[in-house]
Symmetry: C2
Subunit: 545 residues, 2 copies
Amino acid sequence: MKIAIAQLNYHIGNFEGNVSKMLEAIKWAEDQGADLVCFSELATCGYPPRDFLEFDDFIKQCEEAIQGLTAASSNIGIVVGSPSRNPVIEGKDLFNSVYLLHEGEVKFVQHKTLLPTYDVFDEYRYFEPSTKWSTVLFKGVRLALTVCEDIWNVGNDNPLYTICPMDEMIKERPDVAINVSASPFNYDHAESRIHVCKANIERYQIPMFYVNHIGAQTELIFDGGSLVMSPSGEIFEEMPYFEESLRVFDLNDVKQGSQSVEQPKNKILEIHDALVLGIKDYFGKLGFSNAVIGLSGGIDSAVTTALAVRALGPEHVRVLLMPSQFSSDHSVDDAVALAKNFGIQYDIIAIKDIYESFVKELQPLFGDLPFNVTEENLQARTRGVLLMAISNKFGNILLNTSNKSEAAVGYGTLYGDMAGGLSVIGDVYKTEVFELARFINTERELIPENTIVKPPSAELRPNQKDSDSLPEYDILDKILYEYIERQQGPKEIVALGYDEALVKRILRLVNINEFKRYQTSPVLRVSSKAFGMGRRMPIVGKYLS
Amino acid sequence: MKIAIAQLNYHIGNFEGNVSKMLEAIKWAEDQGADLVCFSELATCGYPPRDFLEFDDFIKQCEEAIQGLTAASSNIGIVVGSPSRNPVIEGKDLFNSVYLLHEGEVKFVQHKTLLPTYDVFDEYRYFEPSTKWSTVLFKGVRLALTVCEDIWNVGNDNPLYTICPMDEMIKERPDVAINVSASPFNYDHAESRIHVCKANIERYQIPMFYVNHIGAQTELIFDGGSLVMSPSGEIFEEMPYFEESLRVFDLNDVKQGSQSVEQPKNKILEIHDALVLGIKDYFGKLGFSNAVIGLSGGIDSAVTTALAVRALGPEHVRVLLMPSQFSSDHSVDDAVALAKNFGIQYDIIAIKDIYESFVKELQPLFGDLPFNVTEENLQARTRGVLLMAISNKFGNILLNTSNKSEAAVGYGTLYGDMAGGLSVIGDVYKTEVFELARFINTERELIPENTIVKPPSAELRPNQKDSDSLPEYDILDKILYEYIERQQGPKEIVALGYDEALVKRILRLVNINEFKRYQTSPVLRVSSKAFGMGRRMPIVGKYLS
């Protein structure tokens, strides 16, 4: 038997586009002599469809998509994820299901059992968990079909769950396990997936086809890396990351484990590729081509620009340099050098006159009050308005350049440097931004060395340095990581050896700046805990603040 | 037996404040001779604590709060909601529990069974549902304790659930039902609560004490209105809405149904009071006193200002008038009249010079391109920057003045008129804003009549009217209501008699403007479906768009 994996990039709600892409893949698989072709979780409607699932019209379109695929199944089996309706009145209205289509009919449907409802996942908001498990015979081969999370409780080792669907299915002695997934990227997750697939094989001793979604959906980046596992527990093939891929596998080869194709793993490379895909799909799926970025001469906007150029092409990225009286000479030089290195359009607008017109008009209200953060924010917001004017006039999406460290402690101006349609590096700590810059410069100096080595500064008042207000980034980032990714409290973090007053100050800054993060753009997620939909915090609270 | 209800305003994560408020209420109840005093759901930590629940340190503080209350229970029983840890490794780590404290001990704990995971609720993200139900004897009276949603599946009539906790508890023949709730306001919800309480009484024939939280937590406004129900099914007392309240009830009186105290119901009055509380608590709980509002002379900023004055006092509200060359004379006059009517500070800054300095600096880039939405947005954003400068300089929170109709269709400028820390009327349709204005003017003309009767206009280009770009609000709002609140699809809405092209255009506008709403401030929720945490939509999608 030949089984094809179609690792495709879907678009939420774009039924016509998703189905036609799948029909092409079906045709390709047939041409390759495949008996079965497998798509990923909720492939008809794209993942995650979120509250669109609450619209009956949306579910009808999912059903029509399944009908369209069923009609194409005369000569090939199709495994595909799609919502299905719960016929029982009690419980949620929908199941998150995997279908087997063949001979122009729906041959089998298995519903998802384990519904992730944590971090970025809200599945129990929409879906009823399955309480029935069975396998299906396809051309003499018995298939165990599961959906994503269903294989993440191997023998009930996961404390979140009490049911192991594969433990139930294995009773029917399936020959092959197929899992349809929509598992989003974070820089540790590919290893986890391989680990969990191996744990499944070790327990069930059958070959496994793990089909993942590839493509970014707003903040979530699905990285692909679909897996074919031999019953020995070895990887038969790890499919590419961050790109669509169609492959056909002979089940006998997989059983024998006659090859072992793996992909390279490197945290910074993966983050780089994830962010490039994240930008590309945000633009492509919204129907935009062009980006605008405010280029300061600092490292954050330099790295963001580099990633945008790789995602969209140099002809689709323009930058605006907006020096003020507080900008250092080298800032403009560094920014111009970068623009030239990447061959992108750059313009320069000095903000002094606009800034001064604001100050003049506000003078009757402000009187003799001293220069403070108000005037710093005025500069940042003047820049935000200029960038948005270019965005509006030329149809470029403004890319935000805030990093995770500054977003965490609120070191940024709402509607100023925090503006933009998409936050590219908002889940990348400053210390990792430096690593990204070095990575981007691997082959040649695209980002000027001076941009990388000079002390970070917002340049909003004379001789300002980030380190005037913040601890050094190597300390700050470690404390933030313990609090944000590892959810450690102040006592646990201090116990790691950090200064108590510093820890309290940083945690307080994180919590009191929730109001700023609430209003920022979606943040491309590359870590296990990004700001945004996966981290839901009260604004009006008084905890560690 | 005397049972006290303490309908209090908690603050998320402010354990010290919450406990000391409860200790005062306990003392008051003791002084009144109460045997038992009842607080609401998750009263120790405030509701909803959201992802703070994932921090072990936060749960420890909840436990310490329960210890503090237990120590005060020597002479009075205390019923109170608080998280508790799940001792079993499988499943979520926490329960959402109700405690009975007495004689310095935890006498009984019952966990919540029905965990709302829809709209604004994420309870299954954190909590394991209870699978055990029992009652507890307190001073010879058998109590059935439940938490909020637990009473919303009377005899399994709610299609969402398959368990009815009270059906289980009634087997032990309890004498009294006590439900601790944190049920947020919407303008239909008080009626629903009375209805569900009556349905419970009808089925179980015992008196019921329904204790609700009062107070706003960012966007969610808890309205109180705690209920005491006689076993006959009549309301014995409906406690006040939108204010803290302590009451003691003699159980014999309740059993006899010797009184029937109800509160008046009026949609616009309730919305008014809810928004006033929403503003008041947002400021109070964040430690701010003063608001700033951009006053245009139009109805949205007029109503927002009126509500702010009622929440904070006239000395704590200042407004800024920012006329442009496109502002009509009456706009400034109307705005000044309103400021004088309310006795609040107003300043005027004409934006012409700043706007022109932006245009001048952008000219080398824009060349001869015609005036379009870019220049309209430049004006709106200039105003946003000025308002934020006042916010920064004087410590005033900027209140946003967008209404639900314009937020829905994206008729607003990001970082311009969409700026602000809190959206006051972002869940109020334009037609309801008019009703609110009339209501505010009930006793005398506070909002100038001209502001109410003139055709709505953004005044961003010569002779602009909202109706140039949008259908009349009475049509628009009805279509939006069907789509947003009633989740009807295009076919269903057209079937109601609306023009198909218009319906499609409006639904498309709603969907393509998700990116704008994503970046706006929290919206005070007064309807059953507000923008924000209760409506989770993909940005990158292609559905009805």
